[in-house]
């Protein structure tokens, strides 16, 4: 196979992995901050994509404006989501959390399906029809843009958690809510902010994936891949999650190209089981004590 094909596969794999990374990051942020693992995260991706689609159909705004507006709107949706669903669930048993978030996800999916039917739509992107040429190799610019965005989000989040006061407050709440409250942190606001951030990242994933895979109600199935990325990364580190997601994306893409679709679809689950059995704290995580 010519080198160009490898390069294209790699770019495709990295961009797929980027979407997984964004989903995984959103899941991890919300879980760390509030203790609620959100099984509706996939549907928040779908919702973001449909918001962008709605904006691009009803207004004549350029891509960038839609991009920013959708992410901001998603932040608002995230705050509402947190107030209505997550806060009542925070002290509930895990079973209730899983079931309730799944139910809300199903409801979002069904509402979108009723509103838009089963049609696959897309939003125009300035990168979709452009290809970047490096000698003999040409790569679709959307792939590079997606990968760039995932890396940028990872970098911004890392800086945010390290240097920004709000980021530090989020970390404090994740570690110990009571202590954080005693330090004068408004814990409830941090919860809202965490979900705003998590939902905005999900919407970003939706906008980015739309020109590649199209917008349809089943987009939310990416959830499980995001889980796998977050679990492989140890559910603890931003960088770990992104690296794991890239690995998953690349393995899937190359495996799919060489061994067929079955391999591609089975990889994620096989990796998940393998890692949970061999290294329950992920490839990059450290062991954690559990209180009985």
């Amino acid at each position: 196979m010519p080198i160009g094909v490898y390069a294209q596969l790699l770019a495709g794999g990295l961009s797929t992995g980027s979407i997984y990374a964004l989903v995984g990051l959103g899941l991890m942020l919300a879980y760390k901050g509030t203790g609620v693992l959100n099984f509706a995260q996939g549907e928040l991706v779908t919702l973001g994509a449909y918001t962008a689609l709605f904006l691009s159909l009803t207004t004549s705004l350029p891509y960038w404006a839609i991009f920013i507006l959708t992410v901001l709107l998603a932040g608002v949706i995230g705050v509402v989501f947190e107030r209505l669903l997550v806060r009542p669930l925070m002290l509930a048993p895990e079973f209730t959390v899983v079931v309730a978030t799944l139910a809300v996800g199903l409801m979002i999916k069904d509402a979108l399906r009723i509103a838009w039917q089963e049609t696959v739509s897309s939003i125009p992107s300035p990168f979709a029809d452009v290809s970047v040429r490096l000698g003999d190799i040409s790569i679709n610019a959307q792939y590079l843009w997606v990968t760039f965005c995932a890396l940028a989000i990872m970098g911004i989040l890392a800086l945010f958690f390290r240097n920004n006061l709000a980021g530090k407050a989020m970390r404090a709440v994740a570690q110990n809510q009571t202590a954080a409250r005693l330090m004068g942190i408004r814990v409830n606001r941090v919860f809202s902010a965490t979900f705003a951030l998590s939902t905005a990242i999900a919407a970003l994933a939706g906008i980015l994936i739309a020109p590649i895979h199209g917008i349809e109600p089943e987009m939310g199935n990416v959830l499980i891949k995001g889980f796998v990325a977050a679990v492989l990364g140890g559910f603890n580190s931003l960088v770990g999650c992104v690296i794991a997601a890239f690995m998953l994306g690349v393995i899937e893409t190359f495996g799919g190209a060489f061994f067929g679709g079955l391999f591609k679809d089975v990889t994620a689950f096989a990796l998940l089981i393998l890692v949970l059995l061999v290294r329950p704290n992920g490839l990059f995580g450290s062991a954690e004590a559990r209180r009985v």
Partner: protein, 332 residues
């Protein structure tokens, strides 16, 4: 008569009434009701299976529909392609599902809570993919036909006839499940759900019991799957997606987590409900999601938890206190 009522108790009276209705009323209703009745009972079997694992042993599972799928495809394969007798194919299909439950039980042993939910969700996706990618066995996305069997040279193509077969099997399932949950095994499941560490110190082999819960749950779900394929006559992977699993969860949440009777009531009610609301067919998932959220908030112990409160109003005072107390203990 009133003495008899007192000894049987409100739950007993209702069960007997339900049984009489389910046997006697069906011939007077149209074949559409026979069909929905079959589906309701099959859903009840699947819900009982999930209830053993999730309600009793406390292990979250989102892949109940996958075990149903495995049972359905295995039964169809044995019956149509290997030419086995149906009454052998059905238990064999359930057995295959149980073996898969056994295999999934091992990785699941080391996991709890959210991680377990994620792994079972992954197993669901995996099963979906395998069904789609192995069209030689499963018919792939186009699905596969599953004809009705013969019983002593009599073809059960009539929905009413097959309904009675399903009803008989359901009664056996209910009886075995109730006995199981009252046996030491069921008590061990309860102990594990309440506190694993304590269960361990009490000498309960936690790992073995958990795998046992997975196997039993998969066995029931597989049986439900086998019956489903035959009842409907045609199966495709869409029938066994996440939506179906979540629906099983809704049955047990609405009926009452941990209660066999609750599972049956939840499954039967929620199978008939969408048929009554046919004009809302499009909104099915929406309505079900809403029902689930409302019952999680308004009645965390489901209908089975409400029963003692309701009967306390109608039953004689002294007996009602006892019944409520007993029911509260039996229904965890």
């Amino acid at each position: 008569m009133s003495k008899l009522l007192r000894t049987v108790g409100p739950v007993g009276v209702m069960s007997i009434a339900a049984l009489v209705i389910s046997i006697a009323i069906q011939p007077w209703l149209g074949s559409y009701f026979h069909y929905i009745g079959m589906l309701a009972l099959i859903n009840a079997i699947a819900a009982i299976g999930l209830n053993i694992l999730t309600g009793s042993a406390g292990q979250i599972s989102l892949c109940n529909s996958s075990f149903m799928a495995i049972g359905a495809y295995a039964t169809t394969y044995f019956y149509t392609q290997m030419g086995l007798v149906y009454w052998l194919s059905l238990p064999l299909g359930a057995l295959i599902a149980a073996v898969c439950g056994f295999l999934l039980g091992f990785p699941a042993l080391r996991l709890r809570g959210f991680y377990l939910a994620v792994v079972t969700l992954g197993f669901l996706e995996l099963t979906q993919v395998l069904v789609e990618q192995l069209p030689d066995i499963t018919g792939g996305v186009r699905g596969i036909a599953s004809p009705r069997p013969y019983l002593f040279h009599y073809k059960l193509s009539n929905d009413l006839a097959f309904y009675y077969v399903v009803l008989a099997i359901t009664l056996v399932v209910i009886f075995t499940a109730v006995s199981l949950l009252r046996s030491p095994t069921g008590r061990a499941f309860n102990a594990i759900r309440n506190n694993e560490a304590v269960a361990q110190t009490l000498g309960i082999p936690v790992a073995r019991m958990k795998i046992q819960a997975f196997v039993l749950s998969a066995l029931y779900a597989g049986l439900a799957g086998g019956l489903y394929s035959t009842a409907v006559g045609f199966i495709d992977p869409l029938e066994f997606g996440l939506g179906t699993s979540v629906r099983h969860v809704i049955y047990i949440v609405v009926g009452g987590v941990g209660s066999v009777g609750g599972s049956v009531v939840g499954a039967v009610l929620l199978t008939f409900l969408p048929e009554l609301l046919r004009s809302f067919k499009e909104y099915n998932d929406f309505v079900f999601g809403g029902i689930l959220l409302v019952s999680l908030i308004a009645m965390p112990r489901g209908l089975a938890g409400l029963l003692p409160k309701i009967t306390a109003h109608f039953w004689s005072r002294s007996k009602s206190a006892d019944a409520a107390g007993v029911a509260a203990k039996v229904v965890p």
